[in-house]
Symmetry: C2
Subunit: 407 residues, 2 copies
């Protein structure tokens, strides 16, 4: 396939989405080479266009969030607009939507309609609570879904260490995870269709709450069998020590994971307190876990006198797993990320500048990560004319639809 930028080159994906989870799903597919057609309402388009930091009113996040996508404006509430979308469904292998459950049905674009138009298609539906159940119609807020999925409770210090509430992971992680599940399952269903004599239209129902809950390791069987409620553990591991964040002279934090006997012996030597490794309180992991506060205090007293860069250098020399807790500034300068093309400099014609973008995920042999970013987040409706032209509409027909506010 000439010019293929990823394994999904040649696949068309239709996006009936706004905000984060659905658009993240389609961006993953776009980054792997798919042609993603994003439908936006004529006018201001997706609200994310104005979210986060802006330059001259244009969101920097948008440059990343909508990259590699075509923006086509369609008023789906107009029968002519609905017909255009249905024509695009016929040409799409995957459709992704993240409106409230029932919304696309009200537009006359529910799964039955889509299945009749194109049985060799997969519809991904992403919502806060899923398409069924007593809570399906509740308004979906990412932070609330994360809290119901059990993430928020566990993202905290232990109750005896703070009176503050648990914290939000500082970005929309629940939405992204839901989007990832959507992309993964869509491709599983596509594979099934690729290998079936008669393809079956599949609808995939991703709930943000369930996406989060699915990651909770053994929490459910531990609660069901033992009545055990997992509690937050703050910055350390509950079952291995020392593994914690320690303060440095320059006010940063460094994670140190010296939670094996040889690692702890090396750390003790580095701290010039080799006797600690023979101290009965710290002899093995079991003893160290029992005396976590003491060991963490000793290590913290040592780290507090050292600058973070020097501390990380010393720990690396001693082959003790450690890292500064990276800010985005540390990330942008990191040799490993740079060496692997995870930080791309992308020309953005709207900003008239090169912007930093995260690389496409993941690296796939035979495809160039740098080439995966084909263009940055487009203007509202930038590709309307092109895409409608491909559907066979003439310039006059498109102009008439524009005049009527249909596209």
């Amino acid at each position: 396939m000439a010019g293929a930028t990823g394994p999904l080159s040649g696949m068309t994906v239709l996006e009936l989405c706004h905000f984060i989870a659905g658009p993240y799903c389609t961006r993953l597919l776009a980054d792997m080479g798919a042609t993603v057609i994003k439908i936006e309402t004529p006018g201001e388009g997706d609200p994310i266009r104005t979210w986060g930091e802006k330059v001259d009113g244009r969101s920097l996040w948008w440059s990343v969030h909508a990259r590699n996508k075509k923006s086509v404006t369609v008023n789906v509430k107009d029968p002519r607009g609905r017909d255009i979308v249905l024509n695009l469904v016929k040409r799409s292998r995957i459709v992704v939507e993240n409106y409230r459950p029932g919304q696309i049905e009200r537009w006359g674009l529910g799964p039955d309609v889509m299945a009749a138009a194109n049985p060799r298609c997969v519809l991904v539906r992403i919502s806060g609570y899923g398409q069924t159940g007593p809570n399906r119609d509740a308004p979906a807020f990412g932070v609330i879904g994360e809290a119901m999925g059990g993430m928020r409770y566990l993202t905290n210090h232990p109750a005896d260490m703070t009176d503050l509430p648990s914290v939000r992971v500082g970005f929309s992680i629940g939405d992204s995870i839901a989007g990832m599940y959507g992309a993964m399952a869509a491709l599983a269903a596509v594979h099934e269709q690729d290998n079936a004599e008669v393809p079956t239209f599949r609808t995939i129902d991703v709930a943000l709450t369930e996406s989060v809950l699915s990651l909770l390791e053994g929490c459910l069987p531990e609660f069901g069998k033992l009545g055990m409620v997992r509690e937050p553990q703050g910055s350390r591991l509950a079952t291995a020590s020392p593994s914690n964040a320690y303060p440095t002279k320059d006010g940063a934090w460094v994670l140190i994971a010296a939670n094996s006997n040889p690692l702890f012996a090396r750390l003790s030597a580095l701290m010039k307190q080799p006797e600690l490794a023979k101290d009965p309180r710290f002899l093995g992991n079991h003893e160290r876990v029992q005396n976590m506060d003491a060991i963490d205090r000793i290590i913290g007293d040592w780290t507090r006198a050292i600058e973070s860069a020097e501390l990380v250098r010393l720990l690396a020399e001693a082959q003790i797993p450690a890292t500064k807790i990276f800010t985005i500034e540390d990330i942008a300068a990191d040799k490993q990320f740079l060496a692997r093309g995870m930080i791309q400099k992308v020309p953005d014609p709207y900003f008239k500048d090169e912007l930093l973008h995260p690389g496409a995920m993941p690296i796939i042999s035979g495809f160039d990560r740098a080439a995966a970013v084909r263009w940055t987040g487009p203007d509202v409706g930038e590709h309307t004319g092109d895409v409608l032209g491909e559907l066979g509409l003439s310039a006059d027909e498109i102009a008439a639809l524009k005049k009527d506010g249909v596209v």
Copy 2:
């Protein structure tokens, strides 16, 4: 396909993995119907078999983590063992490995060897920092990868609110996200092969650090263009108010997202302080964000006098998005999760009991979520005889290999 439990029924996946990220990747594929063959070293097998809470020495997490998988013991360092694995590669569509970069090559099972044996196969390699770059050989710890990917820094209260370090999300989220990227990209490459005249073997290189970094929204372009370093925001949103966690009479926390004018007016009325909605400090979102501390104090004073269950009921009646911050106990009792089969009661023959498992992700039309959990985490080598038998080995040959410690 009779008895198909998911869209990947009929696909064989080989797992050369231990710990979390790789096995999570294959479990996602297994939950969608794939036949996953997990290779373990004869003896104690995967360390996760002993992690988390246990009953009679058996880990409850294992019941979930290894469900739907076949366990086959093979000593890959023995040439006969290596040949068995290579025979399994020939029958597999996807191979997943998460050893240190270079390890499978040392076993004589690198990508070139696999590609020669089976070009219609995809190799997923999951590691801390990726297969290339100056840091590729560093020991990979999930918590360190999360810190380098930028998650740990942003999971904290603002600097002026606490002297405590940022916290770990209380489960192995970085590993899981890396596993999800592996499953997604593997299926994308499978699709490419399904539609190619001559299939190309693909190697997929997933770094845990990059998996985390990929989720950071606009942080990279915002830093590159404006020098802005995103800072943690604690329990609230930085740009919308009120949206925060508020304490209740019974010591729980309730999230309330009343961050629009109509929602805030409803909340003010519910608090019997309707004048707040007209207060110049709280008139619009902009004003409320400027006066976040004041508004949060007023709401907190109100919630502190009410039990969490009553508070959630009042907020629901007033149609204000809100939730208690769920513990695993709240989750297990939640009507929405139960109605959708997200909490399965699964008979586990080893525990001689029904255990609670999270449902398979996501719901796919035509497949029954309850049927997706076919069996629970197996014993070490439980399927060795069956699988080697399918490879054509006789019972005597298998017995001889067992005697020699090869399987």
